[in-house]
Structures are given as C-alpha cells and as structure tokens.
C-alpha cells in the first residue's frame, strides 16, 4: 500500500449530502476481478452521459479540478454498500484524501486499506474548506497526517483526530494481514479455548 504522510493538492468541492457508493462507482463496474483501473469510472453516472461524453458542469470535469487530489464532501460520504471498488476508484483517479463531517463506517475503514485518508471535521470547518475548494485550482489544501492538520489556502489550520493504529499503518504503508499474522499465537490460543467452550461453532 502507498504510504501517506503529507499531501498538498487541489481540493474539489462536492457539497451533496449522502454521496453513496453507487454514485462513487456504479455496479456495472463491479464485475472486475482486479483492483486497478477503476479511476476512469469514478462517479461515472454523474461524470459522463450515456454516450460517454463528459458532463461539463460535474466538478471533476471542470478544468480547475481535473487534477484534484482532495475531495471536500457533504455529510455521510460513502454510505451504502461495502464495495471496496469505491476507494479503489477514488485512489486510482488520484484522490488521496476526503474531508467530510461524517463517513459511512465500512467506507471509512476501506479508505485506510488503500492509502486514502478520510478526515472528519466539524461542520463549520468543513464548510470553510468547502468555500476554499470552490475557489478553484489556485486554492491548494495541505494535509499533514503526522501532525494531524489540514491547512487551507489562506493559512487556516484545522486539527483532526485519527485512530493511532490506522495512522501508523497508513503512514508506513503497512500490510495489516502481515501484522496480524505476527499474533498467530494469540489467535491459536483463543481458537483452542473457543472450540472447547463452543464446540458447535
């Protein structure tokens, strides 16, 4: 997994609330057995018309935001299905950070497995960053995971919370299966005890 420490990039505003995983990556693109190459289909039904032409007023089609690496989004981003295709598509497009007031639980976890940092901020701070993002390409947002801060283009600094274990894995690009396997002894012990206590499992 790609490491995440600092990011400085263009932020695209998506103020719509409840952006669901069907919007992020419609189900027709789930029929893949690979993780890569989904960026071209990110937000497909909002981004392209039926003939595959770009819809000009969709934010990521506007010249100012085509290189965006941060999304500032409406409440409850990523709700809906568990499809990891959503963060795969976001990362493949080049977006490494999403800022909102809240995220759906599964989507939030999936981000960390794919080198994406989801940041939760209070409404007023998210709204301020949304305004900032609306200024276009010359408004760059800076994200520092180590320091746990977001800095807006006019120098306003916002602190955010992140789980220490998730932060550690993201900063170091760690494979958490490998980490868990180092605890195989604990799992063995638990499994032995559990199968004695609950043999029907």
């Amino acid at each position: 997994m790609e490491k995440f420490d600092k990011l400085s990039g263009i932020a695209a505003p998506m103020p719509l609330v409840n952006i669901d995983t069907d919007m992020i990556i419609p189900k027709v693109f789930l029929k893949t057995i690979k993780r890569s190459g989904l960026g071209v289909n990110l937000f497909d039904e909002m981004r392209f018309d039926r003939e595959g032409n770009e819809i000009a007023d969709f934010v990521l089609n506007k010249p100012a935001y085509r290189e965006a690496s941060v999304l500032v989004a409406g409440d409850n981003f990523g709700c809906g299905s568990s499809r990891e295709h959503a963060p795969w598509a976001i990362a493949d497009f080049g977006i490494r950070c999403v800022i909102s007031t809240s995220f759906a639980d599964i989507f939030y976890n999936n981000c960390f497995k794919n080198g994406i940092l989801p940041i939760i901020l209070p409404e007023d701070q998210r709204d301020a960053l949304m305004k900032d993002a609306e200024k276009g390409a010359n408004a760059r947002i800076e994200v520092d995971l180590e320091a746990q801060t977001v800095t807006s283009s006019d120098g306003e600094v916002y602190a955010f919370e992140v789980d220490s274990f998730k932060k550690h894995c993201l900063m170091n690009g760690l494979d958490d299966i490998g980490l868990t396997m180092e605890k195989a002894a604990a799992i063995d012990t638990f499994e032995a005890q559990a199968s004695a206590d609950r043999p029907w499992v």
Binding site: V17, M23, E45, A104, S164
Partner: protein, 468 residues
C-alpha cells in the same frame, strides 16, 4: 460483574487480542463470501502464498450476477464479465476448500438468506461478509456486519478482523403494530427517524414488544436495513423463536451439543441496568405502511403523505431533496398514492423469504396485475422457491400475472439482466433507492411485500390496507 449489553457480551466472547489503544482482533465464527467482493481477496492470498485459515467456517454462494430466468443453466444467459466472476468463485471455493453452493444447487440463493437457512448463522456468533447487508444475521443475536475486500482477505488469512468497539444504541418499539404494518415498515420508519447517518459508530439493538412479536423472517428484515441507518450492525436478542428456527437446520448442533449451545444462548440478552450510549423509543402504533419518495432510504413517509417540498429540510438536505425529487420525476405536494408505477419487484435479502411471499400472495390472491405492468417475484433461495411452490404461492403469483423466477439478487441491484430501463418506476421490496441502483436512471420506491403487491394490482403506489 458490571452489567452488559448483548453486544458487549458477544464482543467480549470474541476478542482474541487487545492492544493498549483498544484495537482488538475479533475472532470470526462465520465468513460468508459472494462472487463480487471476493475475487481480489483470493487473488491476494495467492500472491502472498497464504491459505484460508478456517475453510470450515467459510461459506460461499454466487448471487449478485446470477440470472434469475429459468434457462440460466445455459451459460450464455450471463454476460462475459459476470461469468468470469462466477467462475472465479467456483474455482476459488474448490481450490481453497470452502463450503460452496453453486448456481446449480437447489440451496443456492442470496447469501444472507442461505446462511440462516442452512444453520450457518447461530446466536452469539460473529458473522462477516464482504457485503453491507450482512447486518441481516443480527436477527439471531449474532454480531454480523459487512466488510471490504481487504478485510475479506484479512479474515480468510487470519479468521480475525481488526476492530475497535462501537457504541451501544437501543431502539425500542413498544406496543403492537397496526394491521397492514410490517417489519419492513418498522425498519424504514426507524431510518426516517434517525437518518442514514444516525447509527454511524453504533451497534443497534432492536427490542420491545413489537420486535419480540416478529417472526425470525421479520426480524431479519429489520436487521437487514440497520446498515441503511449507518449502524455497524443490528442485533435482536435470541429467544424461543430463534431457537425453534435454528433447531434441525443442516449445520446447527444436535443432541448434547445443542443443549450446551442453547444454555449459552439463553444468557445472551442485555442486562436490565446495562449502559446505552443512545436510546430511541418508537410507539408501534405510530408506524404506518411506509414508502420512500427520494433517493436515500431516509426519504421515507407514510403512504398517506405527500411528496415533501425541498425547503422543508435543513442544510445540505435541501439541495439533496431537490435533486431527488427531480431524479424521481415527482412534484412537491403530490400525493404519494398518485404516483404511477410500471414495475414491481418482490425479492432481495430484505424481503425474499417465505413469509414475504406469503404476505404478497395474500393480497394478490384472485386478483390480476394491472395491464402493461412488469411484475416479478424472485425467491431469496432455491429452497424458498420450492417451499412457495409447495404452498401454492407460486400459482397465485403466476395467475396474477407475476413472473416466477429463480433465486438471486435480481433487480435489487441490477448487476444481472434484471434491470429498470431509463425512467422506469418500480415499487420494490429491496433496501436501497439510490440513483441508478436498479438500472441507469431507474426510479425506486421501497415498500413492504404487501404494498408491492397492492401497487401491482392498482398500477400506482397504494395503501395496502385498502386491499386487505
């Protein structure tokens, strides 16, 4: 001992390791797998030379891509990419030695219907699946939730999940439901109250008289949509109905082992003085037959209501409601019962069980689907289908003019040939009314099975109580 909630008890019984910061390795008792979210996980195992740690606790079934037409044994009924996904699951199940119900098996069906039906899901278990509606299994008092594909790979390799504990949210439905009001209306009504993010960070326990009164099928319907309220999982404490449902299932314990299991299951309830981080009480009599008008499951109203005006909402929801109303082709102030529909879908892991088919058939008996309407019933599993045929329900559907299909996810998400065309409007017993969910620019109104049947007869959204 300090008092505990049901969630606390199941959690505590499954922590295999705990770090200083509270990050835990939660042991997983049952891992359900379907074809859409698993290929990359199995591929990951292969690439790193890892195996499935507990193949005996891993159960796979294809459901999302599978056509539901009678001729589906013919591989050409599937598109190339669907076939590749299903074949990948065939191969992975065989290669890694996990339990498998292929398309040709009568026990095949939607993973969340097959799990309980085969007795894989039992009280007190931890159950995961790369699918958000894993919440369904919470009806058994099992801690069940959806995970992403990286987590699927993690569970395959280690039989554990890295988790931090959620908070406890108690949702109590007091008193008795009015006639015509079902489990589906309960669960939609709750989401209307909490919003789709209201449960974020919580595990919900549903309790109260109206929940106790539900059958296991109804309880599964309620827990199924816990995820639509944002919760990590939904739970209902096991009781006599739960034990009766589980007893005799192919993978349930028997004899002395059953007795031992039941003795433990009987301890699985929230202690009277347990701590709740959040509580919500709803009177059952306040719940009406419900329907969604928008493109989020929280856009729910009693069938007797009117399409709301966007300005009646606050904040970002004003724009979202305006967008929904436009997408849905509605007008603020329009009566919900005036909305004409052209498609009816009865099925999905929310409402594809035998009781759901009985409820719909009770309304349809002796009646006909309105001319020009497309109506289909898709049983949740091959066994539900067989039982419905035996009970004569299939004939009622067919006589009324419904298509009687094979088991699968079907039009719940349109990854298979069953889809809405652009602009088509469907009364659907599924769980998501997102834009495009049932087909590009398709329009979905979520309803209970009885309401879906009523709409099929009249051709517009209808208060089922008028046809009872």
């Amino acid at each position: 001992m300090s008092p505990k909630t049901l969630y606390d008890k199941i959690w505590d019984a499954h922590v295999a390791d705990e770090s200083a910061d509270g990050t835990c390795l939660l042991y997983i008792d049952r891992h359900l797998v379907h074809e859409v979210t698993s290929p990359q996980a199995f591929e990951g195992l292969r690439m790193s030379g890892r195996s499935v740690r507990a193949p005996d606790k891993t159960i796979a079934v294809p459901d999302h891509n599978v056509p539901t037409t009678l001729d589906r044994a013919n591989a050409e009924t599937m598109t190339e990419d669907s076939r590749i996904q299903v074949e990948a699951l065939d191969t992975n199940a065989k290669e890694f030695g996990i339990h498998y119900y292929p398309v040709s098996d009568v026990r095949q069906g939607i993973v969340h219907i097959v799990g309980p039906e085969q007795g894989w899901t039992l009280p007190g278990m931890t159950v995961v699946c790369g699918d958000s509606h894993t919440a369904t299994h919470g009806a058994f008092g099992a801690l069940a939730h959806g995970i992403g594909t990286s987590e699927v790979e993690h569970v395959l390799a280690t039989q554990t999940l890295i988790q931090k504990k959620s908070k406890n949210f108690k949702v109590e439905i007091t008193g008795k439901l009015n006639p015509g009001v079902t489990a589906k209306d309960i669960t939609m009504h709750i989401i209307g109250e909490t919003g789709t993010a209201g449960g974020t960070g919580y595990v919900i326990e549903y309790c109260g008289e109206a929940i106790r009164d539900l059958s296991m099928e109804g309880r599964m319907t309620v827990c199924n949509m816990a995820i639509e309220g944002g919760a990590r999982a939904g739970l209902i404490a096991p009781d006599e109905k739960t034990f009766a449902y589980c007893k005799g299932r192919p993978n349930a314990p028997t004899g002395a082992e059953w007795d031992k299991a039941q003795a433990w299951w009987e301890t699985l309830f929230s202690d009277g003085d347990a701590h709740w981080d959040l509580e919500l009480t709803i009177k059952a009599e306040d719940i009406a037959p419900s329907v969604t008008w928008g493109t989020s499951p929280e856009d729910v109203l009693p069938i007797t209501a009117l399409v709301p005006a966007p300005e009646s909402f606050k904040g970002g929801k004003v724009d979202a409601a305006a967008r929904s109303i436009e997408y849905m082709g509605l007008t603020a102030g329009q009566k919900l019962t005036d909305i004409e529909i052209d498609t009816v879908f009865i099925g999905s892991c929310t409402n594809g069980r035998i009781e759901d088919l009985r409820a719909a058939a009770a309304i349809l008996k002796g009646k006909k689907v309105k001319d020009g309407m497309r109506a289909m019933v898709v049983p949740g599993s091959g066994l539900v289908r067989a039982q419905a045929e035996e009970e004569g329900l299939a004939d009622i559907f067919k006589d009324a003019g419904f298509e009687w299909r094979m088991a699968g996810c079907s039009m719940c998400l349109a990854m298979n040939p069953d889809q809405l065309a652009e602009g088509e409007r469907c009364a659907s017993t599924s769980n998501r009314n997102f834009e495009g969910r049932q087909g590009y620019k398709g329009r979905t109104h979520l309803v209970s099975p009885g309401m879906a049947a009523a709409a099929a007869i009249t051709g517009h959204l209808t208060d089922v109580r008028e046809l009872m």
